[in-house]
Every structure is written in structure tokens, then in C-alpha cells.
């Protein structure tokens, strides 16, 4: 067990570092000269030279890389080229915003996806099953911001149940915080709910056609107990989809933050992208990859725990 965890942790660290290094060179290749966007086209050559010196662009690429990389290893993302303030402080404010929406969305996915998936899977061909199937076909492809627009028109503009825009911090008001992230989380989660439901349903149906189900029935077990066996067998598939969903929600939230005007990582990414603020973009990339890697690591642990065959290799 300890060997397994150690190996997984090491490979996760290698993955994060590899992605960080890759992202650094990719970003510098994609944005060869950000001075024009950072300072404006009217800047004098002196001003440009001063800027280049401040952000270190006058040094060779490998030196820049080394400075950035050693900083990263110490947990320091450096200064934003745009605002000249520490990125870590800025991210500390933004990550809770994004994660509120993503985690709330993931929670909705887990709860409603599981309920729908179980009821569809235990009764294939029923109304719930057919609705889930139809929903998964369409909602899978329709992007979250599209759903957000519809939700805003209905629930914020017409019914006025929720605020259309803006974010309220939980330390200001928990209820207004929840209210401000509800529509974003639903928009984000709707596709995921039907996706999880569909996968779970398929896993349950597959388990239902297994030989052991007939044998359990032959021993006199009732419908409820058989259903428990089916769910237990479908659980690994459901957990796997849920973890995949996390990556997909992290991508989807970026556009949603613009729709709902939430000051999170997504808006920071857009602002950084517009001016070519490479350290900011790298910091966001590395942070996101760390989140994904941690979730995948937890997934492996959970799978090892719930799936006897995956245990301790």
C-alpha cells in the first residue's frame, strides 16, 4: 500500500513538473514579444527597454526559465507582468471563487447524476431512462455558457429568483454566496449530470446481465438486495466519470465566469491572455494541473478502495 501510494505521488509530481516545463516553453513560443500588448503601441523605445528589464525579457530564455522554475519549486509564481503584484496573492483570492462553482457543480453532478443513473439503470426502458438518454445526447454537446444564457433569461431576468451577475464572498453572506453560485453551478453541471447518469445506467445494466446476478436470485435474494449488488458493481465506473468530469468542469467554468461576471481564475486567464501576461498564464496552468492531478490521485485511491481487483498491486 505504501509503495503504491509513494509511486503514485512520485509519478504525479513528475507529471506536474513536466507539464510546467512544457507550458513554459509553449507559452514563450506562443507569445514571443508581449511588450506591445503589455505597454501599448505608443510606448517609446526607452519605456519598452525598461519594461523588458523589469520582467526579465532581456535575459536569455534559459535564464528566464531557470529563475521561473526555481521560484516555482519554492512555491512562488513571481510577479504578474500586467499588474506587477505577486501572483500568489491574486490566485489566493480567485481560486475560492472558481472552486466554489466547480465543487458545487461537481456536487450537483454527483447527487443528481447518481439518482437519475440509478433509477434509469434499475429500470431500463422506463420513462426516466428514456429522458436521461435523450438528455445525455443533447446536453452533452451543448456548452455550459449556452445553458447559462437560458437560465439567466428565465430565472434571473424573468423570475428574479437569482442574481444574474456577480459574486458574493461566503464570509460576507453565506446565503447570498450560495445564491450567486447557484446558476453558474447548474449551468456547469447540467451536461455532467446526464453524462454521469448515462454512464452509471450503462454500468448498472451491464452488471445486471452478469451471471452472478442470476445466481444471487437463485439463492432467494430479493430485488432490493440484488440492486445493492448492481450498484456496488457500477460504483467504480461512476467514480471514474466523476473524476473525468472535474477536468471538463474546470474548462467549462472559464467561459461561465465571463457570463456571470465572477472574479475567478477564468477571468484572470482571459485578462492575462489579452496582454500576454505569461507568468500569470503559467501560474494558472500549473495550478489547474495540480488540481487535476490531485483529483486523479484521489480517484486512484478511491478506486483501489472500492474495487477489490484494483487493490494493492
Amino acid at each position: 500500500m505504501i509503495v503504491f501510494v509513494t509511486r503514485r505521488v512520485l509519478s504525479a509530481i513528475v507529471l506536474v513538473l513536466a507539464m510546467a516545463i512544457g507550458a513554459f516553453f509553449m507559452a514563450h513560443a506562443a507569445i514571443p514579444d508581449p511588450t506591445a500588448t503589455l505597454i501599448g503601441k505608443t510606448a517609446t523605445p526607452d519605456q519598452i527597454a525598461a519594461l523588458r528589464e523589469r520582467i526579465g525579457l532581456d535575459q536569455p530564455l534559459m535564464t528566464q526559465f531557470w529563475n521561473w522554475f526555481t521560484g516555482l519549486l519554492h512555491g512562488d509564481f513571481g510577479l504578474s507582468w500586467r499588474t506587477n503584484t505577486p501572483i500568489l496573492t491574486d490566485l489566493g483570492i480567485r481560486i475560492p471563487v472558481t472552486m466554489s462553482v466547480v465543487v458545487f457543480g461537481l456536487l450537483l453532478c454527483a447527487v443528481f447524476g447518481t439518482i437519475l443513473g440509478i433509477s434509469a439503470g434499475l429500470r431500463p426502458g422506463s420513462l426516466v431512462d428514456r429522458i436521461t438518454k435523450a438528455g445525455s445526447v443533447v446536453l452533452f454537446a451543448v456548452p455550459g455558457y449556452w445553458i447559462a444564457v437560458i437560465l439567466i433569461i428565465v430565472f434571473a431576468v424573468h423570475l428574479r429568483w437569482f442574481p444574474a451577475l456577480g459574486y458574493v464572498r461566503p464570509d460576507v453572506s453565506v446565503t447570498r454566496w450560495l445564491s450567486s453560485i447557484t446558476l453558474p453551478a447548474i449551468s456547469l453541471a447540467l451536461g455532467g449530470i446526464v453524462m454521469i447518469a448515462e454512464q452509471l445506467r450503462n454500468a448498472i445494466v451491464t452488471a445486471g446481465s452478469s451471471d452472478f446476478v442470476r445466481t444471487l436470485r437463485s439463492r432467494g435474494l430479493g430485488t432490493f438486495r440484488i440492486a445493492m449488488h448492481l450498484l456496488r458493481n457500477a460504483a467504480p465506473a461512476a467514480v471514474t466519470v466523476l473524476a473525468l468530469m472535474f477536468v471538463s468542469l474546470l474548462g467549462g467554468v472559464i467561459v461561465l465566469e465571463t457570463v456571470f461576471n465572477l472574479p475567478g481564475l477564468g477571468i484572470a486567464t482571459q485578462q492575462a491572455s489579452q496582454v500576454g501576461d505569461i507568468p500569470m498564464l503559467l501560474a494558472i496552468t500549473v495550478t489547474t494541473v495540480v488540481f487535476v492531478v490531485v483529483v486523479n490521485f484521489l480517484l486512484d485511491l478511491v478506486l483501489g478502495w472500492i474495487n477489490p481487483k484494483a487493490r494493492i498491486r
Partner: protein
């Protein structure tokens, strides 16, 4: 990005057999889920590329009278917040959208499919390297990378879409790789390799044909996702914000969502309907190529009740006391979507108390269907009908479903053919043994545990406490079969039905399990039905034989009668085929005596 999720979805529709592309096309276009979305997408594409012909105004022209105008005859969709004609912007906006989706598809297929073919076909280092890259790509939200690239390219949409294609490639990669691995291991590909066909020829002629359908499905889904993500980029202000685009129009609409929500409607509607159309096309194609077998339907409660009513009117009298099981005129019909098909055509057999009946026949002869009908374990789309099925003097067809189910695990027990798949892989052996004891036999935890230990010892497992802590994948087939026998015995049944109980086992273990069954049958004085295709088994253990073929009984009799003078030539053939070269009873006994318990050893 949702590439990983696309994969798992499209993967569900992976076809198992080759299907001609023409028949798929015909079924696709005659299916409403194929035809309608195709027409919608075609209409939008044609409208988009005919934009110069059908535009009513210059999409960039600003008319101050048109600011936030509602639809009118001159401007059928009205005007936007700065006074441009919405209809013209809508049809022009599609051009970039479809071009972008095309780029994503080309790049995604161009990278993903060859990589998947290489990885899947050659395996080894190539495969693990490519898979690592694919997993890494899938663990980064592509949107962030797109924004980095957008920063450097001033939002050049063509480059952005190419990058998006790279992020879509893992979906194609995993799909192609999985299909290639399956095909590579097919006998006909082996045959082609042995007969000297080159790698590229094998890939070209065999593998590509099989993966064509899943790739087309994936592409339809990718097109929808690409359109959505592209509009998402435009929505947050990336790309040429002056040129008309669907995402840009939605962004304009968002700015005035509180004052003039109408602006949002045309672009959101078109985008939504096109994305949904692509998704439905993919799903329909998946359905058509994925489901080869005919659709079944569930048998309704009314139909089952009708069968029960009919059974209550039976004129046949209950059998004599010493008949444990009597089946008369058993028919089993499967309800398919459009018609029904009968697999058993009136089967009769009976077992006397304390005796062993062998039901013999080739696979497909209906022997398993017969016992499942007897046990009430047929699948949901099967309708069993009979003049009567008496178990221990009761015509079970007249019982309510719950009453009949209550026989299972108590009066009747079942031993399956394939031991490992008949144990739930998720639970320990102990849990699976004790769960029905507690639920059905109402035992306490301790009592059930002790009883399970005792039963396992009885079926020849030396260290039952250790075995009970193991999961099914940790034991051998022979041990698993002993566990299943122990489970079947737990309710002290009067009737035990064993469906090919030794077929899946090693030859040496077969003899041991058969011997065990024989001992237990004698000890408990149960009636035992053994389904088998092997007359050797019959000779070993049975008192009576029923021979089946094509859903009917060919002949029945005592073992002695059937062996000495088989009435039907088919029976004689079966006997000859089974006994040829088989060891005699005496030899098997000698082997067993010479070798103490092999089975208790860990797997």
C-alpha cells in the same frame, strides 16, 4: 475540455461485427434521428455559404434607426444594440463556425487516428509513450491552453481551432487504439499476418474498416463540441470582434440581456440547434452500428398473469408422491421488438425424489432454457408456458410471483456453469455465502458465519475462514465452484439443479466436483438435475436421462436403457461422441483415492 468524456460515450457504440457501409447509410437516412438533424445541418451550412445571396443587408452596416429594433419585414430578425441587421450577421457568422469545426476534425483525426493505429498495433513502448501523452493532454483543460495561444496569436481563430484539434486528438487516439487492439487479436488478422500481408496492408484493409464507424460517430460529437467551444472563445471576446460570429452575437446579447434579451435568441437558437443536431446524428449512428442484435421488449405483468391464469385451469392431476419434479408441455417464447420466437416447443421431463436426472443435448438444444424455466430464472423478455410444472407436488405456475420466488434458496437451489463469473467480484466469498443465509434463512451474523464455515468444510475446503475473506478473483475455478455448491446447499434444498457444473473446470477438478455432487446428493437425499452435453457425466452420476435437441425432447429413460438401446440415432451419436476415449468410472475413482485434496491449496 471534455475529450475524455466523448471517448467513453462514443466507445459504447463500438461495433462488434463488420457492417456494410451502404446498409448503414440507408438505415441512417431512414431513421428520423439521422435524417432530420442532417437536413437541419445542411440547411444551416447552405444558408451560411450562400450568405452573399440571401443576406438582406450588409452585416457590418450600422443603421441608427435599427438599434434594438424588433423583427419587421425589412429586417426579419430585427437589429442589434448598435443597429446592425441580425439576420445578415447570423448567416455570415456561420462561415467561421463551420470552417473552424472542419479544422478541428481534420487535425484531431490527422493526429489521433494514426497515433492510435501505431499504439494499438505495435503495443509496447510506442503504445505506453503515446498513451502517456494522450493522458497528459486530457488532464489539462484545453480552454486554458487555448487562451495562452490566443494571447500570442492575437486571437487568430484558425490557429486556435488547430490547437483545439490537438486537444481533441486523444479522443480519436483512445478510440482507434482500443479498436485496433481488438482487431489485432482477431484470428483473421493473425491469418493475414501469417500469410505474409504487410503491416500497412493489414491496417488498411482490416482495421480501418472496423474503426470507420466509431470514428464517424466521434467526429459528429467532436463537431458539436468544437462549434460550442469556438463560440465560447468568441463569446469571451477572442477573435475578430467586428466580424459577425455566433459567439460574438451571443456576447453582444449578454451585454444587453437585462434590457433587450431578444438579441440573445437568434444566435443561441441556431448554435444550440446545430450542436444538438450533430450530437443526435452521432447518437443515431452509434445506435445503428452498435446494436446488431434485435431489440427485445420486456414481458408485461398482464402477460405473466395470463400465463398463471391459464395454468390454474390445467386438467392434469398432481403427480404421485415420489415425483420431485414434473414438467409437462413446457414452451419458452422470447418477445422481440416486432415478433416472438419460440425456443422450447413443449418439453416434458421428471425427476423422482432422491434420484439424479441428466438432461443431455448440444449447446442450443434448449436444456439450459428448460432448467431456467423450472427455476423461474429466465430473463425478463422470456415467456414460459406449460401445462404444468410441479415441484414437490405443487404446480408452481399457479403460485403468485412472490410465492414462487420464495422457493428459491430454500426448496430449490442452482449451481451454475462458469464458477468465477457467478460470484460477485466486488464482495468477499464469505459475504456472498452469508448474505442469503441472513436475508432468506433469517440467521444471525454469527450463526450464518459458522454455518458457512461448516458448509465450506463439507464441500472440501480445508481453511474456510481464510477463503471467506478472499475475493472471487483470488481463488481457482475449482474452489469457486465448491463455494457455489456450498451456497446452493445452504437452504437444504429438496431439488438441486446444476447447469453444466463441470464444463468450465480442469479435467482433474471435474472428477472431484462430480464426486462431491454425488456424495451430497446421496447424503441429503435431494433430487438432482444435471444439465450436460457429456454422456460421460451421465454414466457417472445419473439415474435417468432426457435427451434434447432443437427445443424438444428426443427420448427419455433410465441410464441403463438409453445406453444399452438408444431409440434415436441422435442419442447414439451423442453417446459415441462423449464416451470415445473417456476414462471409466473405476479409473477415476482410483485417481481420486491416490491423491488427497489438491483443491485446498491457494490459487
Amino acid at each position: 475540455m471534455s475529450t475524455g468524456v466523448i471517448y467513453s460515450k462514443a466507445n459504447a457504440g463500438r461495433p462488434k461485427k463488420k457492417i456494410t457501409s451502404r446498409s448503414v447509410a440507408r438505415r441512417f437516412f431512414t431513421h428520423p434521428g439521422g435524417l432530420i438533424p442532417t437536413i437541419i445541418v445542411l440547411i444551416v451550412i447552405v444558408a451560411t455559404y450562400c450568405a452573399p445571396l440571401i443576406q438582406m443587408h450588409d452585416p457590418a452596416f450600422i443603421d441608427y434607426n435599427l438599434v434594438n429594433a424588433m423583427p419587421s419585414w425589412q429586417h426579419i430578425l430585427g437589429g442589434d444594440a448598435i443597429g446592425r441587421d441580425i439576420w445578415s450577421r447570423l448567416i455570415w457568422g456561420g462561415q467561421e463556425a463551420f470552417l473552424g469545426a472542419l479544422i478541428v476534425m481534420v487535425v484531431g483525426i490527422g493526429i489521433g487516428v494514426p497515433a492510435g493505429l501505431f499504439g494499438g498495433y505495435f503495443g509496447g513502448m510506442t503504445d505506453s509513450g503515446l498513451s502517456w501523452v494522450s493522458d497528459a493532454l486530457m488532464s489539462v483543460p484545453g480552454m486554458i491552453v487555448l487562451l495562452i495561444v490566443a494571447g500570442g496569436t492575437n486571437g487568430n481563430m484558425l490557429i486556435l481551432m488547430a490547437v483545439m484539434g490537438v486537444f481533441m486528438a486523444p479522443g480519436y487516439y483512445r478510440l482507434t487504439r482500443a479498436a485496433t487492439i481488438v482487431v489485432r487479436n482477431e484470428p483473421y488478422v493473425d491469418a493475414a499476418r501469417v500469410s505474409g500481408a504487410s503491416h500497412s496492408r493489414i491496417v488498411g484493409s482490416h482495421i480501418l474498416r472496423v474503426i470507420a464507424a466509431p470514428i464517424i460517430i466521434q467526429t459528429a460529437l467532436t463537431a458539436g463540441v468544437a462549434l460550442g467551444m469556438q463560440a465560447g472563445l468568441q463569446f469571451i471576446g477572442i477573435g475578430d470582434t467586428l466580424a459577425p460570429s455566433w459567439g460574438g452575437m451571443m456576447s453582444d446579447g449578454m451585454k444587453s440581456i437585462l434590457t433587450n434579451p431578444w438579441l440573445m435568441v437568434p444566435p443561441a437558437f441556431v448554435l444550440g440547434i446545430v450542436i444538438a443536431s450533430f450530437a443526435i446524428m452521432g447518437s443515431t449512428l452509434g445506435q445503428i452500428t452498435g446494436t446488431r442484435s434485435e431489440k427485445t421488449r420486456r414481458v408485461t405483468r398482464a402477460e405473466r398473469t395470463a400465463v398463471r391464469r391459464l395454468a390454474q385451469t390445467t386438467s392434469l392431476a398432481a403427480p404421485e408422491k415420489d415425483v420431485a419434479v414434473r414438467v409437462r408441455g413446457l414452451k419458452v417464447t422470447y418477445a422481440l421488438a416486432k415478433h416472438e420466437t419460440e425456443v422450447l416447443h413443449g418439453v416434458d421431463f421428471e425427476v423422482h425424489a432422491g434420484k439424479v436426472l441428466g438432461i443431455v443435448g448440444e449447446s442450443g438444444s434448449g436444456k439450459s432454457q428448460s432448467v431456467f424455466a423450472l427455476l423461474d430464472l429466465l430473463p425478463g423478455n422470456a415467456i414460459p408456458e406449460a401445462e404444468g410444472i410441479w415441484i414437490d407436488g405443487v404446480n408452481v405456475l399457479t403460485l403468485a410471483p412472490a410465492q414462487r420466488r420464495a422457493l428459491l434458496g430454500r426448496e430449490i437451489a442452482y449451481i451454475p456453469q462458469e464458477p468465477i463469473t457467478n460470484l460477485d467480484p466486488m464482495f468477499t466469498i464469505g459475504r456472498q455465502l452469508t448474505e442469503p443465509m441472513r436475508a432468506v434463512l433469517k440467521m444471525g451474523r454469527r450463526e450464518a458465519h459458522d454455518y458457512a464455515v461448516q458448509l465450506l468444510q463439507r464441500v472440501g475446503i480445508n481453511d474456510p475462514k481464510r477463503v471467506m475473506r478472499l475475493h472471487p478473483h483470488e481463488v481457482s475455478g475449482g474452489m469457486a465452484q465448491r463455494v457455489l455448491i456450498a451456497g446452493a446447499l445452504s437452504g437444504r434444498p429438496k431439488l438441486l439443479v446444476a447447469d453444466e457444473p463441470t464444463t468450465a473446470l480442469d479435467v482433474t477438478v471435474q472428477a472431484e466436483v462430480l464426486e462431491l455432487l454425488r456424495e451430497l446428493q446421496a447424503e441429503e437425499n435431494m433430487a438432482l438435475i444435471i444439465v450436460t452435453h457429456n454422456f460421460g457425466v451421465v454414466a457417472d452420476i445419473c439415474d435417468d436421462v432426457t435427451v434434447m435437441k432443437d427445443g424438444v425432447v428426443i427420448e427419455s429413460g433410465t441410464v441403463r436403457e438409453i445406453f444399452s438401446s438408444p431409440a434415436d440415432p441422435y442419442t447414439r451419436e451423442l453417446i459415441d461422441a462423449s464416451l470415445d476415449g473417456a476414462e471409466s468410472r473405476m479409473e477415476l475413482d482410483a485417481q481420486l483415492d491416490a491423491r488427497p485434496e489438491l483443491e485446498g491449496a491457494p490459487a
